[in-house]
């Protein structure tokens, strides 16, 4: 039952249960493969966010299907929708409750810039109160655009010097 290529892969009898790799590569591999979102659904973009999580677009393919509605179990906040000034304090408070490391995706025109709501009531871009990693254009963005944003964020996280950050923190 042993295939012909088995000897080319990892062989515990020869390697002795040891895998050599870089700490950054391992840590970032773990982080990118289980990036749990905090769905900050505030307006119509949240409907597209739900579509991304559902079977057709299937966020689970990228390890990010676990939407917990609890900031303490989340890694990436997806701000999807219009952030009013009244809600801005709550958004920031939820972000503050997320555990490090944490990232933010600003989904759609409203979350990124305030969108068409140039008014007294709407925060002109969630980056005024949160450090945003990825902006997604669109009103609302297609689900594919959000998948692309997640992949972009994973690529960004893979480049992070995680080990040295952990040691100096």
């Amino acid at each position: 039952m042993v295939s012909a290529n088995a000897e080319l892969a990892y062989n515990s009898k020869i390697e002795g249960d040891v895998v050599v790799s870089r700490a950054d590569a391992v840590i970032n591999w773990i982080r990118t493969s289980s990036m749990w979102p905090m769905p900050m659904g505030l307006a119509c973009c949240a409907i597209e966010l739900m579509a991304v999580g559902a079977s057709r677009f299937d966020l689970a393919r990228f390890g990010a299907e676990v939407m917990r509605f609890s900031p303490r179990q989340a890694d990436v906040m997806i701000v999807s929708g219009t952030v009013t000034y009244k809600m801005a304090s709550a958004v920031r408070r939820i972000y503050d409750q997320m555990c490090e490391p944490k990232w933010v995706i600003a989904m759609g025109a409203c979350a990124s810039t305030g969108g068409m709501y140039r008014s007294y009531a709407v925060l002109q871009g969630v980056d005024r109160i949160l450090p945003v990693d990825v902006y997604v254009s669109g009103c609302p963005p297609r689900p594919e655009a959000l998948l692309d944003a997640l992949i972009k964020l994973q690529e960004k996280v893979k480049r992070e010097p995680s080990a040295s950050k952990l040691l100096t923190a």
């Binding site: 920031r92 140039r118 002109q124």
Partner: protein, 208 residues
């Protein structure tokens, strides 16, 4: 369905201050602020207007007299008649009217909204707090002298303000306000955009 002008005629018998109000659809009356509660009460108890569908505030502009008007939309679930009752606030600087919340509980939130947006106070309201903007917001945004872009103000939460060190800013209008174009077949053309695109944040408005 009985013709609803009857309600206006019956109302005028008992209330001398009630006058006709220009209206394109349903009958409408103007009522002096002093008679407002009595008129509303008799419309509810004697004429069967058991449903208050809306309470709306109007700001006629700075310097207009009277400046603030409140419009009540009444409906009768038995005769299916609509009636619009409007009453102007006697005082322009501190506009106030009696609250209708004791007659129709639905007036509660409508009057809170009129208070929030226009600063019209309703005497006898059970819980006159802001309903849309947060408590402590210093302005009434739908007044004519309030700019659409807003006025710089701190965020509602002092703790968060200390953390993020930003507050409300006047929104960059960039030729706005942004409005959708009606009657466009192409979705791209119908998208909300500024009517005047000759200026934006980087290019100053011509002539200024």
């Amino acid at each position: 369905m009985p013709p609803s002008p009857d309600a206006v005629a019956a109302l005028k018998v008992g209330w001398a201050g009630v006058t006709d109000r220009a209206s394109l659809d349903h009958p409408a009356v103007d009522v002096p602020a002093a008679d407002l509660l009595g008129v509303l009460g008799s419309l509810k108890s004697l004429q069967g207007f058991d449903m208050l569908t809306d309470v709306a505030g109007v700001d006629w502009g700075v310097g207009a007299r009277p400046r603030f008007t409140v419009v009540y939309h009444l409906f009768s679930t038995t005769t299916h008649a609509y009636l619009r009752v409007a009453s102007s606030c006697p005082d322009d600087a501190a506009p106030q009217l009696p609250s209708a919340a004791a007659l129709w509980p639905g007036a509660d939130w409508h009057e809170r909204e009129a208070f929030d947006m226009f600063g019209i106070r309703f005497a006898g309201h059970p819980d006159l707090r802001r309903i849309i903007m947060w408590d402590g917001y210093p302005y009434h945004p739908l007044r004519k002298d309030f700019p659409l872009a807003g006025i710089e103000t701190p965020l509602p939460d002092a703790e968060i303000t200390a953390e993020v060190k930003v507050g409300l800013i006047a929104a960059p209008m960039a030729g706005g306000p942004f409005v959708a174009a009606a009657g466009q077949m192409n979705m791209g053309d119908a998208e909300p955009r500024a009517k005047d695109e000759s200026w934006n944040e980087r290019r100053p408005k011509p002539g200024t």
